[in-house]
């Protein structure tokens, strides 16, 4: 027995010795670039370059990212999308959830281990900042992947939408304003392949390429296909799946697909590869918008580069039917979170997004810091605020999220800290006035081994059902990954096992230092109250609803208008009844003297 444990310890330490530490020093600053050749603009770059460099590591490595904010005029915060941050919730990144925004001139260190293989990405999680440029791939290599040795080269490809104007300007002037009452999202100006266009993706004949694809956009899902080539999907969002043949994928923002693509055995010609916007997600499609972006699988630089062919319809593989390599049957839920997605206008005339009737408003104190400073009250959802839509979850339970989409748009939802089983996903409703909602008595299609990932879309007027295990104590954000909708408040907070967070985790000093430097509160409940945690006066709330019908102002106006009208009619009557007297006068005048021809009434 002791030998066995000794051997186990040796084995473990061997792994530890093999696991390296990867350090990145990031200076976040402004960089000029022109990715679509149409418009030179300033981006948020890292270390003077845009696009920002990818982070690469091996599985089980420790990653340390030392971020200094040299933007000068904006705070920032970085989230490592898809990484569980198990035991290190403070490194997850969303502002006012697990940290304060890092003000200009300050720095923060993200220090965590990565125990998941596959393709991820990192991006700003402050306001709607990342489409201004702070996003790049995060690649985790795994020598033990199921398809090891089946490919010749491991590479990556990104797609995104692209805006010429800066996000803060668009938000204030075009989006979150009362002159945009329908909440129409700003239309992107172009589509990008690898932060560029018309790229030449060099390939050699008769080779298999492992291509990790990520959509780093702000809004639009894209269809991706390679003319003349089919491929196998082998991983989604860090979950290995049984290799599945496909010719086209539909990838929403924040999702990742890893494919194995085998090239042809001739170098006669090059083949177009296309990424195409799902234009149904756009409020309207302007005539000037080119919603496709092209590249070529380049076999031979000197061969022809044909134009892509038009297609009649998008024949993409529905990711619902992917089967994970580690097969799990649907979990039995212990607890259900049920929300409906709505969009509506509030009293300031602006269009907001709601889960049930709550539009997320960030608290004064990041939720994780409230956990750390609220002792036993951390299990009472009240302390996290009335407008943060917080649910407190137990430890080692199965939680089911039922989401009914009462909006006619497609939305990709992302859960921090977990992957989840996609147990059900309804088709789109047949028309704009019908809604398909979850009915546990009449369930829809459930696969034997449900697909798992960390970002999944719901169809217009449809619903989905997700299940996951609460095996990762931490404060986890659940939100729509369309940046515009996040700004509109389409988010909620899951506080998972708060007592375990308190007992096992520590917030590093430099995180608190960033709060102090920015003047943010870092202790107490959502209103910053450290004395009486159940007293939330002064907390941030969503705007009041629009007045329904007559307010005091309207009634006063109506009453005064009626009084004026009656007064006016009174005067008219008086004038009419006084005709007799004046007429006699006039007649007398007329008979006595010539009548005055310049009559007022004519």
């Amino acid at each position: 027995m002791r030998v066995f444990s000794l051997l186990a310890t040796l084995a473990a330490s061997a792994t530890v010795v093999l696991a390296a530490t990867v350090q990145y020093d990031f200076s976040v600053d402004w960089v000029q670039a022109n990715p679509d050749g149409d418009y030179d603009r300033t981006f948020i770059g890292i270390n003077g370059e845009w696009p920002p460099p990818p982070i690469k590591c091996n599985i089980h490595d420790r990653v340390i990212v030392n971020v200094t904010n040299n933007l000068g005029n904006e705070p920032t915060a970085i989230h490592f999308h898809g990484l569980f941050m198990n035991g290190t919730n403070a490194m997850d990144g969303p502002a006012f959830v697990t940290q304060c925004p890092v003000p200009a001139g300050n720095n923060i260190i993200y220090n965590f281990t990565v125990d998941q293989p596959g393709m991820y990405w990192y991006h700003s999680h402050y306001g709607g900042q990342y489409p201004d440029g702070l996003r790049a791939p995060f690649i985790v290599y795994d020598p033990d992947e199921p398809f090891a040795g089946q490919y010749d080269e491991d590479t990556y490809l990104s797609v995104s939408d692209y805006y010429h104007q800066s996000i803060p300007w668009l938000t204030a002037n075009k989006f979150l304003t009362l002159t945009n009452p329908t909440g129409g999202e700003p239309i992107p100006d172009a589509a990008l392949f690898n932060n560029s266009q018309n790229i030449k993706f060099k390939v050699e004949p008769n080779k298999t390429y492992k291509i990790r694809i990520v959509n780093m956009g702000a809004l639009v899902s894209q269809y991706i296909w390679f003319e003349g080539h089919d491929f196998k999907i082998v991983e989604v969002d860090g979950i290995y799946v049984e290799p599945t043949d496909a010719s086209m994928i539909y990838i929403t923002v924040a999702q990742r697909y890893t494919i194995l693509l085998t090239t042809k055995n001739s170098t006669d010609t090059n083949y177009p590869m296309i990424a195409s916007f799902d234009t149904t997600m756009l409020d309207h499609v302007p005539n000037s918008l080119v919603w496709n972006v092209t590249g070529w699988l380049t076999y031979d630089e000197n061969a022809a580069f044909p134009e892509p062919a038009m297609i009649d319809q998008y024949d993409f593989y529905d990711d619902f039917n992917l089967v994970p390599v580690e097969k799990e049957q649907p979990y039995e839920p212990d607890y259900q979170v049920s929300v409906s997605v709505k969009m509506n206008n509030l009293g300031d005339g602006v269009n907001y997004a709601f889960f049930n009737d709550i539009s997320y408003v960030a608290p004064d104190v990041p939720a994780l810091y409230t956990v750390m400073s609220s002792g036993n009250l951390s299990t009472d959802a009240t302390v996290y605020g009335a407008n943060t839509h917080t649910y407190v979850l137990g430890y080692q339970e199965v939680v089911e999220i039922v989401l009914n989409n009462l909006d006619k748009g497609t939305h990709p939802f992302h859960l921090h800290g977990h992957t989840f089983q996609v147990v059900e996903r309804s088709p789109a409703a047949p028309d704009a006035n019908t809604y398909l909602t979850y009915d546990s008595a009449n369930p829809g299609t459930v696969n034997e081994y449900p697909m798992r990932r960390d970002t999944v879309y719901v169809r217009p007027n449809g619903y989905f059902v997700l299940r996951f295990k609460t095996d990762n104590p931490g404060v986890w954000f659940f939100h729509c990954h369309i940046e515009w909708h996040l700004e509109q408040g389409l988010a909620l907070v899951l506080v998972e096992a708060p007592l375990e967070i308190q007992s096992r985790q520590v917030i590093p000093e430099d995180h608190y230092a960033a709060c102090k430097a920015g003047g943010y509160a870092y202790e107490g409940n959502a209103a910053g109250n450290t004395v009486n945690l159940l007293d939330l006066s002064g907390e941030k709330l969503q705007p009041k609803p629009l007045p329904a019908g007559f307010t005091a102002r309207g009634i006063v106006a109506m009453v005064f208008s009626c009084i004026s009208a009656f007064a006016g009619m009174g005067f008219i009557t008086w004038y009419g009844l006084s005709d007799l007297k004046s007429t006699e006068l006039e007649v007398a005048e007329a008979l006595g003297e010539p009548l005055d021809d310049s009559d007022e009434s004519k």
Partner: protein
């Protein structure tokens, strides 16, 4: 219902036809009382009456033709050239209509004064129509003076009506014209008839007071609507294409300008509320502009009525007593001079002409 009956048109036509029928009834009353030597000869009486009616009928016919042609041309040339500036057109036309109605409205309440004035005018016209000179035109005028007067009056009132109706109702659909025109003519003619019959003056006056009250409610509503349309134009341009999507709900109005808003009862589109909109200027989404303008209109009206009553009682507007006196004196001096000149001319003519000084109307 509002789509086939435009209230403003009704009131304009009512007012003009009232005036015209006053003229006719005065003329007929004169003839009855013996002007034109008709007291002696029933045949002469009947002929004179016929002249009046024929003259009136021809005048009316010409007016209807001109009016119809005008409206038809206007509508075939297409009034839908407004496009995106429709709100501005509606706004401006409504202000014009409101002003026109306001100015002419109070005159209806001085109908008796109108009648006396016409009596005097016609007397002068008949006295003064010793149309000198030969020439077949002058002879024709003399012969048919009793027919020409109503003809000219009706023509003038009718053209006035067409112009006013045009100003008041160009934004209505073409089928909103015939019914109110007919109703207005009918109502105006019947009031004139009652006046001729010497009917109960008070009853007529009550009718006229009620009619005028309605008229001014409509005018106030029009003024309020005009301001509302102009504000709506500004708002629809700020939110661009979204206006179509927002319907009556949030976003279809500017929350900062809103005094009240209900998501129903739209005065421009929904059934019974359109009548409220036509008569009172009701909007389901009122702005500060539309409410303030409504109240200011009534205040202005009250002040105007007070000034007019003052003037009628005292003969001058407040603070303008001496100025009015001076004008009256000057006017009288001019009138006196004209009368003396006419007398001298007469004496000259009498010497060279063989005609008598009698009212020279001969009947064939």
């Amino acid at each position: 219902m509002v789509q086939i009956f435009n209230v403003s048109i009704f009131f304009v036509v009512l007012r003009e036809s009232l005036e015209a029928s006053v003229v006719i009834s005065v003329l007929l009353a004169f003839i009855k009382q013996g002007v034109g030597k008709s007291a002696d000869d029933p045949k002469v009486y009947k002929a004179l009456v016929k002249h009046v009616w024929v003259g009136a009928a021809i005048g009316l016919l010409i007016c209807l033709v001109i009016g119809g042609a005008f409206i038809a041309t206007w509508y075939t040339l297409g009034t839908n050239a407004w496009g995106t500036s429709e709100d501005i057109w509606e706004g401006v036309l409504s202000i014009v209509a409101s002003i026109i109605i306001s100015i002419m409205g109070l005159a209806m309440l001085r109908l008796n004064k109108m009648k006396e004035k016409w009596r005097v005018k016609i007397t002068k016209a008949l006295e003064g129509s010793k149309v000198r000179g030969k020439g077949w035109f002058r002879r024709f005028m003399r012969k048919y003076a009793m027919g020409i007067l109503p003809f000219v009056t009706i023509l003038r009132e009718g053209i006035e009506a067409i112009v006013f109706v045009g100003g008041v109702a160009l934004s209505s659909p073409a089928k909103a014209f015939p019914l109110p025109v007919v109703c207005g003519l009918a109502a105006g003619s019947s009031v004139g008839y009652f006046m001729y019959k010497g009917g109960d003056y008070m009853k007529i006056q009550y009718f006229l007071i009620v009619a005028t009250c309605f008229l001014y409610l409509v005018a106030a509503g029009l003024f309020s609507k005009a301001i509302w349309f102009l504000q709506n134009f500004v708002w629809s341009h700020r939110i661009g294409g979204d206006l179509a999507e927002t319907g009556e709900g949030p976003g279809s109005y500017d929350i900062r300008q809103s005094v009240w808003h209900v998501n129903c009862c739209n005065g421009l589109t929904s059934g019974g509320w359109m009548i409220f909109n036509a008569i009172f200027g009701w909007q389901n989404s009122a702005t500060y502009g539309s409410v303030l303008s409504y109240n200011l209109y009534w205040i202005a009206l009250c002040v105007s009525v007070m000034l007019m009553i003052f003037q009628e009682k005292r003969g001058h507007y407040p603070f303008l007593k001496s100025w009015t006196e001076k004008r009256k004196v000057a006017k009288r001096a001019r009138e006196e001079k004209k009368r003396l000149d006419a007398m001298y001319q007469d004496l000259d003519a009498h010497e060279t002409d063989s005609e008598t000084k009698e009212v020279s109307i001969s009947v064939v």
